[in-house]
């Protein structure tokens, strides 16, 4: 009966397409919005991921996220270094600097000032696309992230057209000329500023008019040192808050998840997708059953049991769900592919596919079960009424 059930559904072209469209719409919107949300949430701790050497991140206790925190007094660096279990500790500066580009355009850039002595916080060698980290030691030099170099910081050519910002180009940051000596891969920042790296001393000089201090202190642990114990010791010694890399990432993630409107906004879009998809699919499925009442009554009169009708409807609903899911997820994946290389983030995790599948199946089976109620009550004697 599987083939017959499917032929019955597919043969009613308009209703079939309506049901599949509703389910595909729901799957598309739910998958796409969830994938964008997941992608965006992966950005919020992107700089932490890009600095794997740092086992402990120390920040002001009032820190909200990577981009919103008070400065740490410079003397706390020594206090951190003095804590038992700390192998090394270096400062990390983060400043938003306005940069005049070679074509005279102005862009805000998030510049990370890394430790002059150790270079910890620099892009990893494997992240370098062009140039080298070592070149950063030359005075007034900067490494730019690849994505920004090819998009926001593209250079307009006098003859028309544009080209990516590259090695040898000069930028003017807070009135001070700097030379691009490297291009690296870097996780996009949530606020979508271009990211640049330079030595902390140079960044301090560029940012001289502003308050002194570090945004973060990053630290490595002694072999065998317990991370939690060391973090607690740092807290006690400095009055700052120390977190392991994972804890720091989780803290930022949770901040965006629970303290900002990001999650509710995406959730609303997902819920809307679910509701609209459910409404379209449910209404069309109900219409399909209603329009075929006489046919179903005939089947019942001819001896089909309620269980048979139920099986038939559930087969139809499952098939429509799978097709709708395929089209919706396919559409979302296509959307993701089209976004590659842009500022928009899209991360389609397998768990999102599972959630979309469950949601679409829920819509489809829900619609079938609602329609089924009328079918089970359907009087087969209807077949003799005109």
């Amino acid at each position: 009966m599987i083939r017959t059930a499917l032929t019955m559904l597919v043969g009613d072209r308009a209703k079939f397409l309506g049901i599949v469209f509703g389910l595909a719409f729901a799957a598309l919107l739910m998958t796409q919005q969830s994938a964008i949300f997941t992608g965006v949430m992966a950005l919020v701790y992107g700089h932490v991921s890009d600095t794997p050497q740092a086992e402990v991140w120390i920040s002001d206790p009032g820190m909200m996220d990577f981009e919103t925190n008070d400065l740490i007094n410079e003397r706390e660096l020594d206090n951190v270094r003095a804590v038992s279990g700390v192998r090394w500790a270096v400062p990390l500066l983060r400043r938003i600097v306005y940069s005049r580009n070679p074509d005279n355009g102005i862009s805000p850039i998030m510049v990370l000032g890394v430790d002059d002595a150790t270079g910890i916080g620099n892009p990893l060698p494997e992240a370098m696309v062009a140039g080298s980290v070592a070149a950063l030691r030359r005075s007034d030099t900067v490494i730019i992230d690849e994505h920004a170099a090819a998009s926001k910081l593209r250079v307009k050519l006098p003859a028309g057209g544009t080209r990516p910002l590259g090695i040898g180009d000069r930028l003017t940051m807070n009135g001070r000329a700097v030379e691009v000596v490297g291009v690296c891969r870097s996780t996009l920042a949530l606020m979508l500023y271009p990211t640049a790296y330079m030595l902390r001393s140079r960044l301090s000089a560029i940012d001289a008019g502003n308050e002194r201090g570090f945004n973060f202190i990053i630290a490595g642990l002694q072999p065998g040192a317990d991370a939690a114990t060391t973090c607690a010791a740092i807290d006690a010694a400095t009055g700052l808050t120390a977190r392991t890399r994972e804890g720091f990432s989780s803290y930022i993630y949770d901040y965006y998840l629970y303290e900002t409107g990001l999650a509710p906004n995406f959730a609303i879009a997902v819920i809307l997708g679910f509701i609209v998809g459910a409404a379209i699919a449910g209404q069309t499925f109900s219409q399909y059953v209603s329009d075929n009442r006489r046919v179903f009554a005939s089947l019942k009169a001819m001896g089909m049991r309620n269980s048979g009708l139920m099986r038939m409807l559930l087969i139809q609903a499952t098939f429509a769900a799978l097709l709708g899911l395929g089209l919706g997820v396919g559409g979302a994946t296509l959307f993701g592919l089209l976004l590659e290389g842009t500022d928009l983030s899209f991360r389609l995790e397998p768990v999102l596919l599972l959630i979309s599948f469950a949601a679409v199946l829920l819509i489809s089976l829900g619609a079938a079960i609602l329609s089924l109620r009328s079918l089970l009550r359907l009087d087969p004697a209807l077949v003799f009424r005109s």
Binding site: M1, R3, T4, T7, M8, L9, V10, G11, D12, R294, V295, S298, L299, K300, A301, M302, G303, M304, R305, N306, S307, G308, D379, P380, A381, V383, F384, R385, S386
Partner: protein, 259 residues
């Protein structure tokens, strides 16, 4: 010996309650024999549809006994009644009620698949029966591409494909012109009638009375007259048989023996 395929005793059926109740059947006693084409006629609202619904096992009577092949349907559960219908009852409807999205062959095979037959075997059997009703060249046709007469032939094939003991036909010719109606009745007489099968036809179409073996006239929930006649080939003039061709049923009843 199980007796008549269809046997009704004191069958009563009402719809609604109290003063608004409609008494559709008021104590029907009826036996329909195997190999018989039994016609049920009467004005709208006389209880014909209620009676065939009960005979077909898709409606329960309020009182009385309905036995189909000796089986008291009232004692069966809903599921068992469905199984009984799947094995023993075939239906031909006024509006054909074919599944519009299935081919002619699939529509016929559906009856067998409901009874549990595998699709391939059911399709083969459907093909054979469609050949018998003259539709072997339209196996793959969709119902909406067929004429009313052709659709009704498929409906007949669907009704008999599982070789049921009871065939219930509701106004099988009323949606057809005279010629198509004649063809459908001839197919019913030629193919549907067989020993061991009772065929009950509800009709308003006086042109088809001549195909019956017996005719019952209903009024207000009663069978008021029952006429037995011998089937006469349509083109054979037999002056000693009751002439129903002019549509005067009253004359037919007057001339026939009332049982």
């Amino acid at each position: 010996m199980r007796g008549h395929p269809i046997s009704l005793r004191g069958v009563v059926k009402s719809f609604g309650e109290g003063p608004m109740a409609v008494h559709a059947l008021r104590g029907i006693n009826l036996d329909i024999s195997a190999g018989e084409l039994f016609m049920l006629i009467g004005p709208s609202g006389c209880g014909k549809t209620t009676l065939i619904s009960i005979v077909a096992g898709i409606l329960k009577q309020d009182a009385g006994e309905v036995r189909l092949f000796g089986e008291d349907l009232g004692r069966l559960s809903e599921g068992a009644q469905a199984d009984f219908r799947a094995r023993n009852v075939g239906f031909v409807f006024q509006q054909y009620n074919l599944v519009p999205t299935l081919t002619a062959q699939e529509n016929v095979a559906l009856t067998l698949m409901i009874g549990g037959m595998p699709r391939r075997k059911a399709m083969e059997r459907a093909s054979e029966v469609l050949f018998r009703v003259g539709m072997s060249d339209r196996l793959e046709a969709m119902p909406n591409t067929l004429s009313g007469g052709q659709q009704q032939r498929i409906a007949i094939a669907r009704a008999i494909v599982h070789d049921p003991g009871i065939l219930v036909c509701d106004e099988p010719t009323s949606a057809l012109d005279h010629e198509k109606g004649r063809q459908v009745m001839e197919i019913l007489r030629a193919i549907a009638i067989r020993p061991g099968r009772a065929l009950i036809v509800v009709t308003h179409d006086n042109r088809v009375y001549k195909y019956s073996d017996r005719i019952a006239s209903m009024q207000d929930g009663h069978i008021i007259r029952l006429v037995r006649r011998h089937f006469v080939e349509p083109n054979t003039a037999e002056p000693d048989t009751v002439d129903m061709a002019n549509g005067t049923l009253e004359a037919a009843f007057a001339a026939a023996a009332i049982i």
